[in-house]
């Protein structure tokens, strides 16, 4: 599966061309193991997609491919009209991102990680300021204001000087969200943002995400929080064995999944 294999690229995206996120036949591997086996996915601006599926089905890998943290072997991903890592132009010519253009594209998205991944040697404020000052070339004073606003938005105004080691899991994830928001992203990616949290802390994080969605943020959320999915999600995609095999509105899918793997999965989650 060589990277120059252009057979399955789709230069003319047709009716999906105006979609904000567009993935076509995305394949990705870990070593020899193929984890994404042809993902097709679209999302409009302002929509909130909830991705579900058993562990190993490829949800996280798909998000990581969108953020270009994981290479795609085949297929293409477009965000806001721009190809990520590799794409075809109208003439069918293959383009690849340079290191610089990749950084620029990443900086237009925000990602929130399951295990927070805060910079442990930086304070809360420095964690949130790093992206704006280093990648967006915002002056320090301005970046500081921006960071303070975002930190206040997630309710951690009194912790700006703390180091991650001195925060609870819920507080860490709030910083994670503030850090992503400080990039003023056009798309937010949430990779199981509440799975590593104690149950009593989950609600606070979901509340912040719900506020973001209400404010019109385009979001892709990998989560098993079905009540959140119903309340906030505009669509739900079920991944199975590296493919999206079912898509529907969250309430429809949760009430009556049509494919057998989705039925089995939701039965297990709902118990």
């Amino acid at each position: 599966m060589a990277i120059r294999d252009t057979d399955n690229l789709n230069p003319d995206a047709g009716a999906d061309g105006d979609r904000f996120v567009r993935a076509h036949d995305v394949h990705a591997c870990y070593g020899k193991l193929e984890v994404l086996k042809g993902i097709d996915f679209t999302l409009q601006e302002g929509e909130v997609a909830v991705l579900i599926g058993a562990s190993g089905s490829g949800k996280s890998t798909f998000l990581r491919c969108i953020m270009a943290l994981h290479p795609i072997e085949k297929g293409e991903i477009h965000v806001g009209g721009e190809g990520i890592t590799r794409w075809l132009d109208c003439d069918g010519k293959l383009h690849k991102d340079t290191a610089k253009s990749l950084c620029h594209k990443r900086s237009m998205m925000g990602m929130v990680f399951q295990h927070f991944n805060l910079f442990s040697h930086l304070t809360v404020l420095e964690n949130v300021m790093l992206g704006p000052t280093m990648a967006r070339d915002i002056a320090k004073a301005e970046a500081r204001e921006l960071a303070l606003t975002k930190i206040a938005e997630v309710g951690l105004g009194d912790k700006v000087g703390s180091y991650p080691a001195h925060l609870s899991g819920g507080q860490k994830q709030r910083v994670g969200i503030a850090r992503a928001l400080a990039m003023e992203p056009k798309l937010m990616l949430f990779d199981e943002p509440t799975s590593a949290l104690d149950p009593e802390l989950v609600g606070g994080i979901l509340g912040i995400m719900e506020r973001l969605a209400t404010a019109g943020m385009t979001m892709m959320v990998v989560t098993h929080e079905l009540s959140f999915a119903k309340a906030v999600g505009t669509k739900m995609s079920f991944l199975h064995d590296g493919k999206i095999i079912e898509e529907a509105s969250p309430s429809d899918m949760i009430a009556a999944p049509s494919t057998e793997p989705a039925q089995k999965f939701l039965r297990e989650v709902l118990v």
Binding site: R64, L69, A99, N117, F119, H121, G131, M134, Y163
Partner: protein
């Protein structure tokens, strides 16, 4: 036998004047070892096998070569090949090369301790490789590497006495002179032994202070 303290004190300005050369050689060699060590360590964590292989060969080569042999070799062989270095530069280079292998291992330990998740987080906020290295990877790697690096500095300080063998007028060299001129080997060598001991211990003590401070700041509370 009496300890001729008065004689030692009389000679001490000359003797401890050698500390200038000891310090110069130690710092030059340390700077060389730091630069080369970091470069080699970065090669050691490269994705390319060939690059990793080269780095490993380098480390093994200099780790398995006695410092004194390398010192003599550079000092006497370089001029034969027409490479003219000042005596101080030559001995610093020899010691620096010798320690750079260990230094590379010290850096590598730190680099490998950096959480992959934080690297991904750095990439996700749009950092370039270089900024990621500078702002996220190196600060964290040095937290792990620093005690090892400081230990190597202390080792270098002690190994620097080897340069007396090619006539650099450092502490050890001057101790030998004084001891043979005045017949006070015990006094002379005890004098510089104390010097090495005190400075080396101070360096280690400083390192442990930094470690404690960092442990308080970064240790997880949970």
């Amino acid at each position: 036998m009496t300890f001729k303290l008065a004689l030692l004190l009389r000679e001490s300005p000359y003797l401890f004047g050698g500390a200038y050369y000891t310090a110069t050689v130690t710092s030059l060699a340390f700077a060389i070892a730091l630069g080369l060590g970091l470069a080699i360590a970065l090669m050691k964590v490269s994705k390319r096998r060939l690059v990793r292989g080269l780095a490993t060969t380098y480390v093994e080569f200099f780790r398995n070569l006695p410092a004194l042999v390398l010192l003599f070799w550079i000092f006497y062989a370089f001029p034969v090949f027409g490479i003219r270095l000042s005596a101080l530069t030559a001995v610093s280079l020899a010691l620096g090369l010798n320690v750079s292998g260990y230094m590379a291992e010290a850096f590598r330990t730190g680099l490998q301790a950096v959480d992959k998740g934080e690297v991904e987080a750095g990439l996700s906020v749009g950092l370039t490789r270089w900024k990621l290295l500078r702002k996220v990877v190196l600060p964290q790697a040095s937290r792990v590497s620093l005690p090892l690096i400081i230990n190597l500095f202390a080792s270098l300080l002690r190994w620097s006495s080897l340069v007396s063998a090619v006539g650099i007028s450092d502490l050890a060299y001057r101790a030998r002179i004084i001891s043979s001129v005045n017949y006070i080997p015990i006094e002379a060598y005890t004098g510089i032994a104390m010097f090495y001991l005190v400075v080396s211990s101070l360096v280690s003590f400083g390192s442990s202070l930094v470690e404690k401070k960092w442990a308080r700041r970064y240790a997880t509370t949970s």
